[in-house]
């Protein structure tokens, strides 16, 4: 089990970032993570796709991922190599989709204290987010045990394979 995840750059966003802003709907005829990653946040923040590095974090305000159930949104961030999303709150289906894909989503009330470009890491076991730039640690909500094990297994697909005996 990964406990202290690697440090990465924070890409900060505001409240109510909907799925179309994460992955504009004109690109969702594809379901290839790498192709989708090329268009992540394209209208909202065109530099993201070109400059994001594997292991970086998306940091946002309230209601991140609102709107559509389209998994293309979290999948584009998986494709971009995002290590986790830290937000003050998440929309329900996005939260669920991210966990199902094995992408850590961390509810952190103090996410607004993180500035764009800060050096951050998350500790899922302890339920905390570390801001190495400011040398601060913020409390985060721990996942229920069932969901934590889902993420640890790599998402819903590996979990289901175990359940069906089709590994």
């Amino acid at each position: 089990m990964t406990t202290d995840r690697d440090r990465g750059r924070a890409w900060t966003f505001g409240d109510d970032i909907d799925t179309d802003q994460i992955t504009p709907s004109r690109f969702i005829v594809s379901s290839d993570p790498d192709e989708l990653a090329e268009h992540a946040f394209e209208d909202l923040r065109p530099a993201f796709a070109a400059e994001v590095s594997a292991g970086d974090y998306v940091v946002a305000g309230h209601n991140f991922g609102s709107g559509s159930s389209r998994e293309h949104a979290p999948l584009s961030l998986v494709g971009a190599g995002v290590a986790g999303i830290v937000a003050q709150s998440f929309a329900r289906i996005f939260f669920r989709n991210a966990l199902n894909l094995g992408l850590p989503v961390v509810i952190c009330p103090a996410a607004d204290r993180i500035d764009d470009g800060d050096d951050v890491s998350i500790d899922l076991d302890e339920g905390s987010v570390r801001n190495h730039t400011t040398d601060e640690t913020y409390d985060a909500e721990s996942l229920p045990e069932f969901l934590q094990s889902l993420v640890d297994e790599g998402g819903l697909k590996p979990y289901t394979k175990t359940k069906l005996g089709t590994e």
Partner: protein, 438 residues
């Protein structure tokens, strides 16, 4: 211990254990749905987690639709359509094709959804099914793909917010106005991880096509699902529409002492027609606050308000009239049966005579893909459910949300107009059913 909400009752039944809000369960699915955008990714998941000869958990209760890019607007969309057709044929699932209509309209009209069912759809507006008393919820493709194989899925049992409206709704105020008001009051994320229950005399008196509007837009306040308690009206609708026998015996009614997260009570007579300003459904205001806003396009359709009664109401307003010279109007029936009925009853002709463009059944321009996309600076007044930035096209366009009555009357003036200036009708299921049979 207190009684149960509708959500707690249905999930207890489907998980075969007594559960309450906050608990996690694995529950049995009754119906699963995906469409041309979310289907292909779900099929990949299904193929990934199952052996080569795997079967669907219940082909007779698995439904795929082709509605979002219908007809195909490009080669990739066409290939997605073919993927849906091939997977459905291979596994014996129900498949609706181009022109049959939007998943949420079709599933209800064709009788796939029954009160008390647990329905998952790979589309966020799957909350719609609560309009006939089912637990409908939107999921992603990974959820859907695994559930196609296992027939069950994990759920957190939601807390419930109850919205009660008492008294008779005034002229010009419809279910759409109620839901915009609710979303405005609790906020865009006011019901996140929760269920919405709608009740009270004004809700009970709503015909089914209006109840479906309330539940469709539960997601616009973050809701996991939404319910109108199924009753005799639901039973009559199901029998008429799909020859389904249903006895409203109270098994999907909330207990009188159910524990709610909160209860929001309204007097119907206090309510005015609502409009949600760009770029969030929670920006709901009384229509008077935005009256006079010039519009370029009017859009009547979507899984929210593309039903026959909605479109007929607009046609009534436009009968013998012409659209204001500064506007264009796009009308997209929610299903093929609505389209055919528009032809049979003259609604189609009325709309075309007034200058509207009537398209094939499907999602139309709702999500900005095609068939009426907005350009820079365009302003649209829509019966849709979302008005996010760029939702129907350009990031520099604006979408206002309103009821079909408000959209219809506004089309005559070329600006957002109080629907009460046009004396709009209100349709009941039964009246329209009689019209159809005569």
């Amino acid at each position: 211990m207190t009684g149960k909400t509708i959500a707690e009752k249905i999930l207890s039944e489907k998980a075969d254990t007594d559960v309450r809000a906050g608990e996690y369960v694995e529950a049995e699915i009754d119906v699963a749905m995906a469409h041309d955008i979310t289907g292909p990714l779900a099929f990949e998941t299904f193929d990934d987690v199952t052996p080569d000869d795997a079967e669907l958990f219940a082909p007779e209760r698995t439904v795929f639709t082709i509605d979002h890019h219908a007809p195909a607007d490009g080669v990739e969309a066409a290939n997605n359509h073919n993927a849906v057709r091939e997977f459905a044929a291979e596994h014996g699932a129900h498949q609706f094709d181009v022109g049959d209509g939007i998943c949420h309209a079709v599933l209800v009209e064709e009788g796939f959804v029954r009160p008390g069912d647990l329905v998952i759809g790979a589309d966020s507006h799957s909350t719609t099914y609560g309009g006939v008393g089912a637990f409908g919820t939107g999921v992603g493709s990974t959820d859907l793909g695994t559930a196609l194989a296992t027939g069950d899925l994990w759920f957190r049992v939601p807390e419930t917010k109850r919205f009660e409206v008492h008294g008779d709704l005034p002229t010009g105020v419809y279910a759409k106005d109620l839901i915009l008001k609710f979303i405005g009051d609790v906020g865009f994320d006011g019901c996140t991880y929760q269920a919405a229950e709608y009740g009270g005399g004004a809700i009970e008196s709503l015909p089914i096509h209006e109840r479906l509007v309330l539940t469709n837009m539960a997601i616009e306040m973050g809701g996991k699902t939404g319910f109108v308690e199924p009753d005799e009206r639901t039973a009559a609708y199901l029998e008429r529409q799909a020859d389904i026998e249903y006895d409203p015996d109270g098994t999907t009614s909330p207990d009188e002492d159910a524990a709610y997260e909160s209860v929001h009570t309204y007097r119907a007579t206090d309510l005015a027609p609502q409009v949600s300003k760009p770029a969030n459904p929670e920006n709901a205001v009384d229509v008077g606050a935005v009256e006079g806003t010039t519009v370029d396009q009017l859009f009547v359709g979507t899984c929210t308000n593309g039903r026959y009664e909605d479109i007929k109401l607009v046609a009534d307003v436009l009968e013998g009239e012409e659209l204001a010279p500064n506007v264009r109007m796009v009308v997209v029936p929610a299903s093929g049966s609505v389209y055919r009925r528009m032809l049979e009853t003259g609604v189609f002709e009325t709309l075309v005579d007034a200058g509207a463009i009537v398209q094939n059944a499907g999602c139309g321009p709702c999500a900005g893909y095609h068939q009426g996309v907005l350009g820079d600076g365009d302003v649209c007044l829509a019966t849709a459910n979302r008005n996010f930035p760029g939702r129907e096209g350009s990031m520099d366009s604006d979408v206002y949300l309103a009821s079909p009555a408000t959209v219809g009357v506004s089309a005559l003036y070329g600006e957002i107009t109080d629907p009460r200036r046009g004396d709009p009708q209100r349709y009941d299921d039964v009246i329209l059913a009689e019209e159809a049979s005569s």
